[in-house]
């Protein structure tokens, strides 16, 4: 027996949680929101999701093969997750070449060109989305309302309506509608209840921490309440601005992406807060009604700096 003993440095036992398990858990936690999206907007949403995931996985396989990397990584869940998230950020009636182009960009450029999993600076799904926004803005801003609305073919998102100064809004979209997803918007962002259920699962399993989502959402809500009211300071409808756009999806599932957000809890608090500030500024002052994804992308770029300045203090550290 003695010659077959394995000798290595400890610890000799390891947590069961693996990269794969985390990626698939996040994917699982996103399923309710996707199912809700398909139910609300119809079968095209399902096709968009499938196309997006398939393109992501194929692109991942091809780039890994070209880079001569371990092909097992195709099924670590990260490519599937990127494809899924990209689809969730597309309008429901998108033509299928749109997710194809977006997913390809997300994986090939957003992820693998930077060195693959763990090395990308930007959230790949959001990079893909930004690419589509620049290339085909029209397709990316044409919205569909839920199937059961009479005017279902062309609609607008609540934030866009608000931005256009529509007399609005609480008539057509009550808070309850915003919660269940009875509104126009991207496939995966509309059903807030489903998103929150998934987020709760991730928080309970400790796959994500509260730091980024809570600061992100709280900052947007607070700033909207203070500055975004039509009747002056402190008259904004904080709840509306929290629920109406892509904030919930972005704050819980995209800003929390490990690779592109800070390492330490302190860093995460700063990251989340600044995401919130940027989201608000973009929504308020830029031409586009939604700001979540650009805010996260900008903060992705700032992550290395945040990491450097939020190095945790050593236990027992003293200034000499």
């Amino acid at each position: 027996m003695s010659d077959s003993l394995i000798v290595s440095i400890g610890p000799h036992i390891k947590d069961k949680v693996s990269t794969k398990r985390i990626m698939w858990a996040v994917t699982l936690s996103l399923l309710p929101a996707g199912l809700a999206g398909i139910f609300i907007f119809g079968m095209n949403s399902l096709f968009v999701i499938i196309t997006s995931i398939a393109t992501a996985v194929i692109t991942e396989a091809l780039t890994l093969a070209v880079r001569k990397k371990d092909m097992g990584a195709v099924w670590d869940g990260s490519a599937v997750l990127t494809g899924l998230l990209l689809a969730y950020n597309l309008p429901p009636q998108s033509p299928l070449w749109l997710p194809m182009a977006g997913s390809f960009f997300a994986i090939a450029i957003g992820k693998q060109a930077f060195g693959g999993l763990g090395h990308n600076i930007f959230n790949p799904a959001l990079a893909g989305r930004a690419f589509l926004m620049i290339s085909w803005p029209l397709y990316m801003t044409t919205w569909q309302l839920p199937r059961w609305r009479a005017d279902a073919v062309a609609g607008a998102t609540p934030l866009a309506l608000y931005k256009e100064g529509e007399a609005f809004v609480m008539k057509s979209s009550s808070y309850c509608d915003l919660l269940i997803g009875n509104r126009g918007g991207c496939i995966g962002e509309v059903c807030v209840i489903a998103l929150l259920a998934g987020a709760a699962y991730l928080l309970i399993k400790k796959y994500i921490s509260w730091h980024i989502p809570v600061t992100f959402i709280a900052t947007v809500a607070l700033m909207s309440w203070i500055f975004n009211g039509r009747a002056g300071l402190f008259t904004g409808d904080a709840l509306f601005f929290t629920l109406a756009g892509g904030l919930i999806l972005g704050a819980f599932f995209m800003a929390t992406d490990y690779v592109t957000s800070p390492l330490s809890s302190r860093g995460k608090l700063i990251f989340g807060t600044l995401c919130g500030v940027l989201t608000f500024l973009i929504r308020k002052f830029a031409g586009y009604p939604e700001g979540v994804s650009y805010a996260i992308l900008i903060m992705n770029a700032a992550t290395p700096i945040i990491d450097r300045y939020t190095f945790p203090k050593w236990f027992g550290w003293r200034r000499e």
């Binding site: 610890p11 947590d15 763990g118 236990f315």
Partner: protein
């Protein structure tokens, strides 16, 4: 028994597997046919052999005497003839000068208590320290630092609190748990001696809440013997140690973490517990102190746990120091499945062994056998920056960044990021989902900065 207020940062929650052995009473020492006694079973300079090949020794005879201030004595753990003095393998250092004793036939292998203990309460601090030193007592929690040295802090360090460490946070190990159940009085007497030597007025008995039976046993004992502490410690009436029930978390048993949890004091980086007025001792050490003083018995046996899912009969048992692991097979009944890893100590900080022919020395708290399936053989992935290692590090280091620095051979950078303060608890590597052997990198980096 509110335990919520005791906290320290970082840490992980591995499955404990303690139930494999936790209700097995500690077996009596099995007497091996031979023992291999390393002359260095402690931190500090090795003991100097005072015997030579061919001599006969009785149980408890001195075979190695301390060779400096930080050093410790070694005693014969069985009676017999000295057959060899040579450099032989040990569990934590390559090879150490060791004395081999082979038992004769019909020899008396019991330790005979010769001195009555009636005088104990009148012994001075110095006399107590001498008894402890002469008995070769070292820290049994793993570090094996000579106990008499630990209990003699330099005059400029004011000690006000003693912690009796019964956290036993390593998974699988249960011998401290059993000791607290079975040797409660002895442990408390040992604590009394520590308190008397250090002249402190505050003492905590710290136990994790996964050992409720030990907590109850201690509670009961404190009621029962509480009044006796007055004579044991020389402190006035009404003085008793306090019980601190800690929430289970690894590495709670580490001195700095247990001090933070109980006293909310932070031992400075690179410092010692005595810098914040505290000294912590393992419960096994307290029992050894008791034996050295009350029974004048040298440290020739210790309690260990032999366990693992492939072990036929997981046990807690006394073993004579120097017993070879391979000789203990009868005690734990062999294996139901072939073990692939043999660990001396716990699975987090213990050391994997090349062979079973190594002696159980004073610092070995247990033997854990793991099968192939239980060893995590997942390949090293890439860091996904999940931050788990950062949250797990009790010292507040950033293991992933240190790992990258070491990989890129930027050792000075690693040093300025605090790599030297890593005390190798393994929490980071345990928790990493990418299965990066962070501790391997950290150890390598630590070794490097010592040489550059």
């Amino acid at each position: 028994m509110a335990s919520m207020r005791y906290r320290f940062q970082g840490g992980v929650h591995p499955l404990t597997f303690k139930s494999l052995a936790s209700d097995r009473p500690i077996k009596k020492s099995f007497i091996p046919k031979r023992v291999t006694l390393p002359l260095s079973q402690h931190i500090g300079s090795p003991a100097q052999a005072v015997v030579s090949v061919g001599m006969n020794v009785k149980v408890g005879d001195l075979i190695g005497e301390p060779s400096g201030y930080i050093s410790s004595a070694v005693h014969a753990s069985i009676a017999g003839k000295i057959t060899k003095i040579a450099y032989l393998p040990t569990y934590n250092q390559a090879r150490v000068l060791s004395v081999v004793i082979e038992a004769g036939v019909d020899e008396d292998q019991d330790f005979r208590v010769v001195t009555a203990a009636s005088d104990v309460n009148f012994l001075s601090k110095e006399e107590l320290l001498k008894l402890i030193r002469d008995a070769g007592v070292v820290g049994l929690g793993g570090a094996a630092f000579p106990t008499d040295v630990k209990l003699s802090p330099p005059g400029n360090k004011k000690i006000d609190t003693v912690i009796l460490n019964g956290a036993e946070c390593e998974p699988y190990l249960t011998c401290d748990h059993r000791l607290m159940l079975e040797k409660t009085e002895g442990i408390l007497k040992g604590l009394g001696i520590i308190v008397k030597i250090l002249g402190v007025r505050r003492a905590y008995i710290a136990i994790e809440n996964n050992k409720m039976s030990a907590i109850y046993a201690m509670e009961r004992a404190l009621k029962l013997y509480g009044h006796k502490f007055a004579e044991w410690t020389g402190l006035g009436r009404g003085w008793t140690p306090k019980l601190a029930v800690l929430n289970e978390k690894y590495p709670q048993g580490a001195e700095k973490q247990i001090i933070k949890a109980i006293l909310n004091r932070i031992v400075p980086a690179g410092g010692l517990p005595m810098d914040v007025g505290c000294i912590a001792n393992n419960v096994g050490t307290a029992y050894a102190i008791y034996e050295s003083v009350y029974l004048r018995k040298p440290l020739i046996e210790r309690a260990i746990t032999i366990t693992g899912s492939c072990v036929k009969e997981p046990v807690n048992t006394w073993v004579r120091t120097g017993t070879l692991l391979s000789d203990l097979k009868d005690v734990f009944g062999g294996f139901t499945k072939e073990p692939k890893k043999v660990i001396i100590g716990g699975p987090m900080m213990g050391l994997a062994q090349y062979s079973m022919d190594i002696p159980i020395s004073k610092g070995a708290g247990g033997v854990v056998f793991l099968t192939k399936d239980e060893i995590d053989s997942n390949e090293e992935g890439v860091c996904i920056r999940c931050g788990r290692c950062v949250d797990a590090c009790p010292i507040g280091l950033v293991p992933t960044t240190l790992m990258y620095r070491v990989k890129k051979e930027q050792f000075q950078d690693a040093k300025s990021l605090g790599i030297a303060y890593c005390y190798e608890c393994g929490s980071c590597a345990y928790t990493c989902p990418a299965k990066i052997p962070l501790l391997d990198y950290l150890k390598f980096g630590k070794a490097k900065i010592q040489t550059v």
